[in-house]
């Protein structure tokens, strides 16, 4: 069968250091797939290889069966692959609506239009507003991004990714830096996303992972150790060792 996202023997070396070691990962369409692993396991490097921010040393990345290994980031986005960032990458001096409208315009192929003002593209603004409503950001639509609390800014991260209407969404620690109460709310919002959006989630908080994911892959030292259902992962000896080891080290 065809997967929403697939890697084959993906390797990334930085000098002598192997950050991604022969990763073959399959994400089924519609899945809620989580990628976990201790600090420094290479989770973000893997995301960067998937999105095209980094080029792999060898191996292939397939999106809906199509080889996208050599495609630049923006063309993968056009093919339905969107991401959020572990550390916010937002437009500090734009309002929330401006930011999301910018993203919507790009997806609609209006990004290079240079004559009529943004405000005249009513359908794009309308779509951006719908997204803001979905993420409960509508009341701050005209606020500057930098004036908002961190939790709200995390939601803008997600809004910008959703504006690309992705079929495959990579969430890189969406709740990082968000207070516990707000992170529950954030995950409720993510859980409500329709199933035609496949999600690959990187997360540290095991509670959240086990409640959200229906499939979990464990990454250690750049390589995949095991992939299974949450129930099986919870019982897995190797996984316990890895996390116990980290707890003892830390």
């Amino acid at each position: 069968m065809s997967y929403a996202l697939e890697t084959r023997n993906l390797v990334k070396r930085f000098g002598g250091f192997v950050a991604t070691n022969d990763v073959t990962l399959k994400v089924e369409a519609g899945a809620r797939h989580a990628l976990i692993g201790p600090n420094g396991a290479g989770k973000t490097t893997l995301i960067n290889l998937l999105t095209g921010f980094l080029e792999p040393s060898s191996g292939t990345v397939l999106l809906k069966g199509e080889d996208v290994t050599r495609l630049p980031q923006h063309q993968r986005v056009k093919r339905g692959l969107a991401r959020t960032f572990q550390i916010n990458r937002l437009f500090a001096k734009m309002t929330v609506l401006e930011s999301v409208t910018l993203a919507v315009c790009e997806r609609r192929g209006l990004g290079a239009r240079w004559w009529n003002p943004v405000g005249s593209h009513v359908e794009a603004i309308d779509e951006a507003a719908q997204l803001l409503a979905q993420l409960r950001l509508l009341d701050v639509a005209h606020h500057e991004t930098r004036s908002l609390a961190y939790g709200k800014q995390r939601l803008i991260e997600i809004a910008l990714a959703l504006a690309a209407k992705p079929s495959m969404l990579l969430l890189d620690e969406p709740a990082a830096g968000v207070p516990t109460g707000e992170s529950r709310e954030l995950f409720e919002t993510i859980a409500q996303l329709p199933r035609d959006v496949t999600i690959l989630l990187i997360e540290h908080d095991m509670d959240l992972v086990f409640r959200f994911a229906d499939r979990i892959s464990v990454l250690v030292n750049g390589g995949l150790v095991v992939e299974d259902t949450p129930e099986a992962i919870a019982k897995d000896k190797r996984v316990k060792e890895v996390y116990l080891g980290e707890a003892l080290d830390g």
Partner: protein, 331 residues
Amino acid sequence: MTTTTLAGFDPAPLQRQARWKRAEYAFWLLPVAAYFAFGDQLALLSQIAITALFALSLDLILGYAGIVSLGHAAFFGIGAYTAGLMATHGWNQPLAGLAGAAVIAALAGFVTSFLVLRGSDLTRLMVTLGVALMLFEMANKLTHITGGVDGLQGIEMKPILGMFAFDLYGKTAYIYAMLVLFGLFWVARRIVHSPFGHSLRGIHLNMARMPALGTPVNARLIGVYTVAAAYAGVAGALLTQTTQFVSIDVLSFPRSAELLLILVLGGTGSLYGALIGTIVFMTAHHLLSDINPQYWQFWLGALLVVVVLFARDGVMGGLRALARRLPGAAK
């Protein structure tokens, strides 16, 4: 067509941005007032209009796209020589000269944009500087074409559209330069408020995010660099046509550096900052060099330091801060 389907949501604040404000209408009455008030200074006023267009060009790439350039005179010079050489070879219709200068400068901008895309801000600064230096020395060396340090002479312009001849008092020249400035300002204003201009701001604010939105960042930067080069070329052509002479100074490093100074003084990323910076700089230059022809740059330096330290975003930033404090006076 200004409403959306979402109940209780008002998109107006976003849509208002592109609308002309009252202060803008008032601003554009200044050139008209200046024509009557300073009728004996039209040569200076034409210079201000031309430099303002040049500064506008730099604002497009620096203020909006975030590309720092120390060699923008390259395109100004290319435009100036193009218009000059066209005129000395029998193409002396002014508007044809402007068009020719725009096309050649745009071409040069397009080609060099690929160099500018590479590397960090410092690399870009050096590349723009290097390109301008090379062009300067080429113009210096190719004396049989450019006239070298003696300048390009023997330029005679036909009346504009066959109707408006350049006169001794510089009336036609001033009105011509000002109309071109206004027309191109109007176009630039549309560009910066369009989705394209919006995406440039996005690139400036967060370059790393844009590819994740699906934006071909390089294509956008090539686009704006090419347009800005055309603008600079037209400014250069205007100088040639209104002074009927091309000095090798059009390509000089001080011209590029001065331009950067003007833009920082006025404030980047608002278009009006470029215009106001030019007015302040040229007027200060004029007045200060009258008082003290040798050391006028001392006061200019002092002014620059004060503006950069105490008024962020230059004169425009200061004006905006002032407008916020006087809520009644805003808009």
